[in-house]
Amino acid sequence: MIIQDRMKVTGQRKIAKNIFELKLSGKLVGEINSPGQFVHIRVSDSFEPMLRRPISIASINDEKSEMTIIYRAEGRGTTLLSKKVEGEEVDVLGPLGNGFPVAETAEGETAVLIGGGIGVPPLYELSKQLTAKGVKCIHILGFQTADVSFYEEEFNQLGDTYIATVDGTKGVAGFVTNVMETINDDFATYYSCGPMPMLNAVQTVYAEKKGFLSFEQRMGCGIGACFACVCETTDKSDEKYVKVCSDGPVFPAGVVSI
């Protein structure tokens, strides 16, 4: 169920250039049902900034009723969020949307998780849940440059992890697709989250594979009421569309017209 929770900041730290890891605790955590769901955060009690910010859930700790989000402090809203300190409360609406289907990869099979930039965070909880059930995870993480890369160590502990940076300052020089070409393709499923051009490239390279992609759109309500976040589907017959916030953000590859 979607709830509005005043969650408590239990920790915040910078983990890369302009990238922050924020831990929040509250009963909302008990409602999360799949990795890749997101929350809609009100960063201030005033109306400036006006709108909530959608941020993916990066990992959850059920015993502590705690979740972690990882975000880039860039605009007005996320910069304000990065100033929150332990003990403060944050108004969080969630969990929202439908996450990655863990069930689509069976025990013993291999899954490839491909993330780009701030699309990487939700893959962490996904990998935790997949590996916990006995899926072998291969992680391919793309970043602009080494300075803004994060969580290599965390992903490494769950499975093989390849890093690509556009400027070659870490891992392979180039894009996640450069790594994908070098990977054995006897895997069952792929899961991906990142910028649109990356999703498009991933989908094209793995056209024969079963895959799930997580999308971004500018949002108003975050719950499906305002029609801000629609994407056209590939099914052109009847002007079909999906809402990223409530139908997604994760869709099977091929559904959303990129």
Binding site: M1, I2, Q4, R42, F47, E48, P49, M50, L51, R52, G77, D91, L93, Q217, R218, M219, G220, C221, G222, I223, G224, A225, C226, F227, A228, C229, V230, C231, E232, E239, Y241, S246
Partner: protein
């Protein structure tokens, strides 16, 4: 006696608070969060005759204390609304105000005729002020004669009272208000959004794919209050006021300005529980103001 009850043409409102059109879909999403029967009424998303996909994305952009939207009247079309949306809403004890939109008079008439027969639709809201569609919509809202004629045409076919939604993007809103009153409108709803733009800092290009969008939220409240104040003094039909309502105090302001009820738009996105929260806070607010019944506040700015 219910201190919050307000009676308007076609509408017996438990309280004067209702979500504004386009900010509440057809109620389903908010219905998962709270019991919609608490609401005074619900203004559903604009319905057009045909199914509409709306504008390309991005459709929203944030601005200082406000937001821009250019959804473009996306909706499942008259048939879809009649078959799926309105029946679902019947489970709640709440009157529905159906927002009617179109490109030309014939569209409006078609939608009005049919949708006004739905058992829970107690009033129509004629959307002559949507800034986000190429033709129709706002042109009806900026020309008094066209506004009057359209109102009269819709009145003729509607089974329920007709409210007309005014655009703030005009030199003299009093003129349009008087025209729709002359056309037979039973009430006025105001304001729709102000036309605005936001540019991308890096590229300099408009963020909203539709180029311009409608500005809403607390930023526009001073303009909305001024217009309700002006219009309520030149027409004798009631006004449902809106534009920037985000807390209980704002409701008091709209009533004081001359509105008989108040709609909440953008604020639903910030706080999905804002409508019930305001409804719950109103009685204490009346106590604070020393007012027995909420209707005593209506128009006190110019009495």
């Amino acid at each position: 006696m219910n201190r919050l009850a307000v009676e308007l043409p076609g509408l017996r409102l438990k309280n004067p608070i209702m979500p504004a059109s386009g900010c509440f879909g057809f109620g389903k999403e908010y219905g998962n969060l709270y019991d919609l029967s608490q609401l005074g009424a619900i203004m559903i998303k604009a319905t057009t005759f045909e199914t509409r996909f709306g504008n390309p994305t991005p459709r929203v952009a944030e601005t200082a204390s406000g937001m821009l939207n250019a959804i473009g009247l996306q909706n499942p079309g008259l048939q879809g609304v009649m078959e799926n949306e309105l029946p679902w809403l019947e489970q709640f004890d709440v009157p529905i105000i159906a927002n009617v939109a179109g490109t030309e008079t014939a569209d409006y008439i078609e939608v009005a005729k049919t949708i006004s027969t739905a058992p829970n639709v107690k009033a129509l809201e004629l959307n002559i002020s949507c800034p986000n569609v190429k033709c129709g919509g706002i042109t009806f809202g900026t020309d008094p004669q066209q506004a009057q004629d359209l109102t009269a045409a819709v009145k003729e076919v509607s089974e329920v009272p007709v409210y007309v939604k005014l655009s703030p993007n005009v030199t003299d809103i009093k003129e349009i208000a008087k025209a729709v009153e002359a056309g037979g409108a039973d009430g006025i709803t105001m304001i729709n959004t102000l036309v605005g733009m936001r540019l991308d800092q890096k590229t300099g290009r408009p963020i909203i794919a539709n180029v311009t969008g409608g500005l809403s939220g607390p930023a526009v409240k001073p303009v909305a209050i001024r217009m309700v104040y002006e219009v309520s003094q030149v027409v004798s039909i009631p006004i449902i006021g809106m534009g920037g309502v985000a807390e209980t105090a704002d409701v008091i302001d709209f009533l004081s300005a001359g509105a008989s009820a108040v709609a909440v738009g953008t604020a639903n996105f910030v706080d999905p529980f804002i409508c019930p929260t305001i409804i719950n806070e109103l009685p204490a607010k009346l106590d604070e103001l020393g007012v027995e019944h909420i209707s005593e506040l209506i128009g006190r700015s110019h009495r």
